[in-house]
Subunit: 468 residues, 4 copies
């Protein structure tokens, strides 16, 4: 099979999966009017094989494969992957599409598992690649009290754990949160969320299961639900959205040949971090179209408002450019400086990738504030699509919202900015900037860990005349 | 009459006013299900006479008056006004209620008009105070190309102007934007938006008219419209909202005895600035409950997440405190340092008030980012009220969202934070922070204008040994 | 005696004090050419009785006293003290003069000691005030390993402690650092540097001794030593400087009637903090002339360079104003919000005073960077006084350094800025901004401690619908 | 000759050059005790051929050349140049050494001159490379009023200009400032400082002359002059320094075959910018050892003070790492993304190089503030080398300055930090960070110019549904 079409992808989602949304069980995620935009958004990564075959298709042994599943072996492979991710996010209006996260998990499994687990991971990878499977990744446990390790939580289920075992299966219980794409993926890959000690043995788990596995229930967040149909008001979020779920494992039986990490606590941390490296590399590439949109919209709105020659406006535009291009530059560097990891799987430079992600996350709110500043209060006091569609009202709007350009251009650009910064979708993007693919604090910790200060210390000691 | 009840206020809104919302004419703003929450929010400032009589009621000559209409004559008066505004915003969950803006405009008119205009302003003030009238203020013109003055715009109507005149009236045409409260006020006070030159004579206008005056049409922004009923999801915005309109004057005839500035361009700037002084003083006081909420919610969510002892968490909490309390402190100082202005109307210290407002506006986005950081991704991936209300789902949520406190507390606090920072209402607050009551750039300009550098320059010259 | 002249002050410094500077014992601090500028700088606070009698002199019972020693009993007293400190720092070019710190210590002793200690403190205060004594304050111990309390240090002498006792005296050993003014004060007041536990009993000490007490040795820091005579090059630091010493107590015997805290560990913390409150209030007032100088010099250099109309220049000037005036405003507020403390000694509002100090310290480096930016590279590549004094070179400089004003004005202003920001004295000011009167981290801790979050938390809970 | 030794370099400086320092003519720059450290510092780039031959020597046609003079033809060449510059700055303790700036000017001349000027530039380059000549570069004119172009200044000499001409020579008059290395270079290359219009024709000049050319006088800035001998106090600045001069051309006759740009105003801007590209690339590479020193010293001082486990300390260390490594990364990217320019001379990516330089300059003051914060007040109140050298005092210092490490280590590290941040040398570095190789504002302008927003604008228009 190897490359599926978006129709094949959609067809694969009709199964017995147990999905709840807004307090109701969903009959069919593909047909549900509120979930469908998310399915369509994810389907873009299947369409990419048609629209960008040079980027999206690998040919090997005469067979075609999705380039998302190309195991990186060199800086060039990672550079290519960066471009592929950026292209898919360009189609996705700056929001991650689907295959990125699953392939990030696969590379981590290929690099950071050992022994039998590694063999199973390799077999799993081969099947996923061959069948062009859509994967979600469930990493973050619900975690309970952040100050306590898994085995010391009041309720032992607050991290996912093994509760039973037989010859063929392990049985797991617990819940993961922030599971992106789970309702519209074929299978879910489970990864550990943190380093673990010997007492956390039952929690040191990684495996994969189909979404319709008995005992698995997805509670989809209602965020971004509700009518959002008029593209005048919501030019981006009427077309693009992701689904996140609380993913509950209620004594789910997992076949052992799908288990990649089976109670090996010492590998939990390395596997978690290996995923994070790839996933932050994904993040800094898929965010680029979002940042480009901010730059482009800021230039447009400044021009349309008639303020583009003011000193402070130029200063804000330059600062947006410097911000976005620093993220892009550090992301490129993460590929160029990458090194081969275990099993020959290339590893993005962790210092560069974490600095890129940190720069993105740390600067996002200020960038948004600058774009709001250039836009003016109309972002939240302007007219809506229902006004625009009324032929008696539209001429009033055309007359009075004309500025240094026609009212329609100005209102559409303002609504683009509002959608991305000042409405539910904007809030979603702002929270993602802070927390998705690791929080700011997690990135700072990785920057410190990825940097070896010994050369700098030795140099400072020499200049201080302490040595030699 | 002097003090009206909130029922009397609501009753006064049933008239022939021409209001459009979401492309349709509104039959009755009090009964309309989407506009009603805004009416109820504004009505809080009438309720204040019951809940906080010591703050909200003035007694003079045996008669009671709304303390919002007390003309400030001393630092104590302004300090009292600050407390009154903060109390009304506390009732209003950090959003301005209603009477603040109208009284700001009245004080400006009393201080900055002259001659016959001043007499009319005084008479108007007396009537408003006596009848406890609810006023909206229309200041910001649609403005067209920001780089051009009123008389040089492509369309001469892009600033409100006089197009005709007879013995009794002037006729005006044009449009104002961002007119808060217009749909649910009794009357609208019009103020000029900027300094004007001799060629802008026809644009140098200030007057007041009832909202149902013929020729006046309000196009209410649909922002924050739509279902927002469940207080689990929207603890604040299900109860509190403001309305802003595009306010179109289609050859509206204004009786001359209601005209306070009639084509006197040299007074346009002083009147605009006089309003701004009072209105920014209002702003820094009504924002305090919003900032307190951020501090309180940040403490709560850190505690409930189990992270309150981490160094970076303490640092963020302290930074929120320092931010909010600097705004509060500078706001208090604006009253304490106030000086008598023309006609004995007290003027808040413009340097302190603009620094307070700038500090608020400049720091708001970063404060929001910090609160988001402490909250975690659940802000946008958590469950909703419809999930919570389902008796089969709620136990799952209670089990898995418990952390260092019960799930319900955590989810409710997270939803409060999301409502204020990551949803439409949060975007609305963020844009208001940047633009309402003057933009960041406007505040910087006023800081520079309010500061006399001559003493600092003389001292620097002396230390540089250039003089004496 | 009550008010001494600066000559009487200088005369009082001729005694047997043991002072080392640059590796040599100093014969006479008044005559030493490198220490003399510091003596002259401190003497300014005695001259203040002549130049600003209305501020500097109190009259009580027909006798005159230094107003520095007026015990604050009201907001007005603290406001007056703020003005007095600002005036003395204006004379001192933005550097603290002398009497501020001693009076800060006295107020702390009057407020935070108890029993016999309090009586001795009161008697000591009366004598100091009557004789207009110049006091230094030794608070900061050398501290050894910051992670350990006094009694657990490898060397027990790393905090000052009692090593012996007889009927009349206690004997103390240890060392204090950063002791400002010690070489040119009459007496030294010793305060504890931190909160202490029961095991630190021997370290919980406060007392006063004359500087020439046997066993006491001062090692003065050589910072700012060396030729610095030409006021063309060093317009400020050629005239103004402070001395800091390592103050070693080598088994010094202290008469018990001069001991205010004698091994009472539970009072060590309160006394340390009481001092800090007054001393930070002093700090935010004495820094104001320094900040005014930055503003004034920035305006001058922008004008002289011909760049004052550029947008980014105006923005930088405004930001300097907002910075300085926020410090000034919060400092005033600390007095206006002050409350009576124990024994009726007025206490500056700790939240406001710590926010003022934090705002100063946090913003100082950025303010300096902005002034450097406006100045240009000539700050460190320009000519010197020896060039200027050469009649063949001066015309060359006058020709080529003329800009939008004459070369002499420009060079003198640049040298003022260099002296304050880019030379040894500038580095001294930058380090003082970060560490003197408490570090940034100490101020953040006090902000958090001075703020009671319970009202904000209750309000957030109410809005989150958790209570009532 | 091709590669000279540092002795040959020093020997070459004995000539009739006219150099003034501290108001006196200098007899011999090599022997002058105050200038000698600068000569020794510059000589390090000749020593590099011995210490780092693999980096510093090129072999071509059997002959050795200084690798500083390798014309870049590829990303690899620029990457190599970056390493060479970093190595020389490592020897130079983070301060630029000498040959960097001259070679930057040569590459600019090779790329941006045309016709006869280009031929002369090529011949000049060949000679400089063959003879391993030490070049200074004089670019910045004294400029007078920044708001006026050259030909409109009150004094026509405020930009360097042609005042006469004959068959063999042009005669020039005017002055350049901030001319680094001029007193200790063999020759001076003159470049225009800005874009020029037709009326500025006489100012559009570039040429090279020996330093001892009649009519040329150098007035060396006294900054960093004075006794600075004790390496305990000044571990870096006792060994390393640069000289900057006011470089006056008093009717200097320049042979035409050394003139590369002779009154061609349209090439002035391109040549100025071409130099700036190379010179900012140089800057971001030579600053790296300075940034490494800050990181290393910060780690050391935190450790020695016993505070390295505190949360805020880790945060500050991480922030220093992220800052330095972002500069390094963007600098590397400037080489990796470089493109061939005119005449096949490779051009560093202007966007990356300006972002790297801006990141460095914008972040430097905050980085310094963080290092000061970790160090403590001892930076400016500690003992000096003369104390340390006194055998009676040293034991006192050893006892009382011991902390979580021995006193000597702590004091030496503190003095290293003080030298780099809080003393004259630190001020010099801070001003250089802001202004050398272009100011912050100049870098922001180049970032805006180097970025083509059209793709971002087109994407934003598409998402706003304005096109297609």
């Amino acid at each position: 099979m190897a490359i599926r079409s978006s129709e094949q992808y959609r067809a694969g989602l009709h199964d017995g999966r147990r999905v709840f949304h807004r307090g109701q069980q969903v009959k069919d995620v593909v047909e549900d009017p509120e979930l469908r935009p998310a399915v369509d958004h994810s389907a873009l990564c299947y369409d990419l094989a048609d629209t960008h075959p040079e980027l999206a298709i690998d040919v090997e042994g005469g067979e075609k494969f999705s380039a998302f599943y190309r195991i990186p072996r060199s800086p060039e492979d990672l550079t290519h992957r960066g471009r592929l991710i950026e292209a898919s996010a360009t189609a996705g209006a700056g929001t991650i599409v689907l295959k990125e996260v699953g392939s990030d998990a696969l590379f981590a499994l290929l690099r950071a598992t050992e022994g039998e687990g590694a063999e199973r991971a390799r077999a799993y990878f081969d099947r996923v690649r061959r069948d062009d499977v859509a994967l979600a990744v469930a990493q973050t446990d619900v975690k309970g009290d952040r100050a306590l390790p898994p085995h010391r939580q009041a309720d032992p289920d607050l991290y996912l754990r093994v509760v039973d075992e037989d010859a063929e299966t392990i049985t797991v219980r617990g819940a993961k949160v922030h599971t992106s794409f789970a309702p519209n993926a074929d299978e879910i890959v489970v990864l550990p969320t943190r380093a673990m000690g010997p007492d956390d043995r039952d929690y040191a788990l990684s495996f994969a299961i189909p979404v319709d596995t008995p005992g698995l229930t997805l509670y989809v967040s209602p965020y971004l639900a509700g009518e959002r149909k008029n593209p005048f008001d919501f030019p981006v979020s009427s077309q693009h959205k992701m689904l996140e779920s609380l993913t509950v494992f209620d004594d789910v039986r997992v076949p052992k040949d799908q288990v990649f990490l089976d109670r090996v606590p010492e590998l939990a941390g390395p596997l978690a971090i290996a995923f994070v490296d790839y996933h932050r590399f994904t993040a800094v590439n898929y965010k680029l179209p979002l940042l480009d949109t901010l730059i482009g919209a800021a230039h447009l709105v400044a021009e349309l408002n008639g303020i583009s020659r003011a000193g402070h406006v130029k200063d804000k535009l330059t600062s947006l450019i410097a911000y976005a291009e620093t993220v892009r530059g550090l992301g490129q560097l993460a590929a160029l400086r990458s090194q081969p990891g275990a099993h020959g799987v290339q590893q993005p430079d962790p210092l560069a990738v974490n600095m890129a992600k940190y720069t993105f996350a740390h600067g996002f709110h200020d960038a948004v504030a600058k774009v709001m500043d250039l836009s003016g209060g109309l972002l939240v006091t302007g007219p809506g699509g229902e006004d625009w569609d009324n032929p008696e009202i539209r001429p009033v709007l055309e007359k009075y919202f004309a500025a240094a350009g026609p009212a329609e251009e100005r209102l559409r650009v303002l609504n683009l900015i509002a959608d991305l910064t000042a409405r539910d979708f904007g809030g979603y993007q702002a929270v993602l900037a802070t927390h998705a693919e690791g929080s700011l604090e997690a990135e700072k910790m990785q920057i410190a860990r990825s940097y070896d200060p010994s050369a700098a210390i030795a140099y400072a000691r020499r200049l201080a005349r302490l040595d030699g």
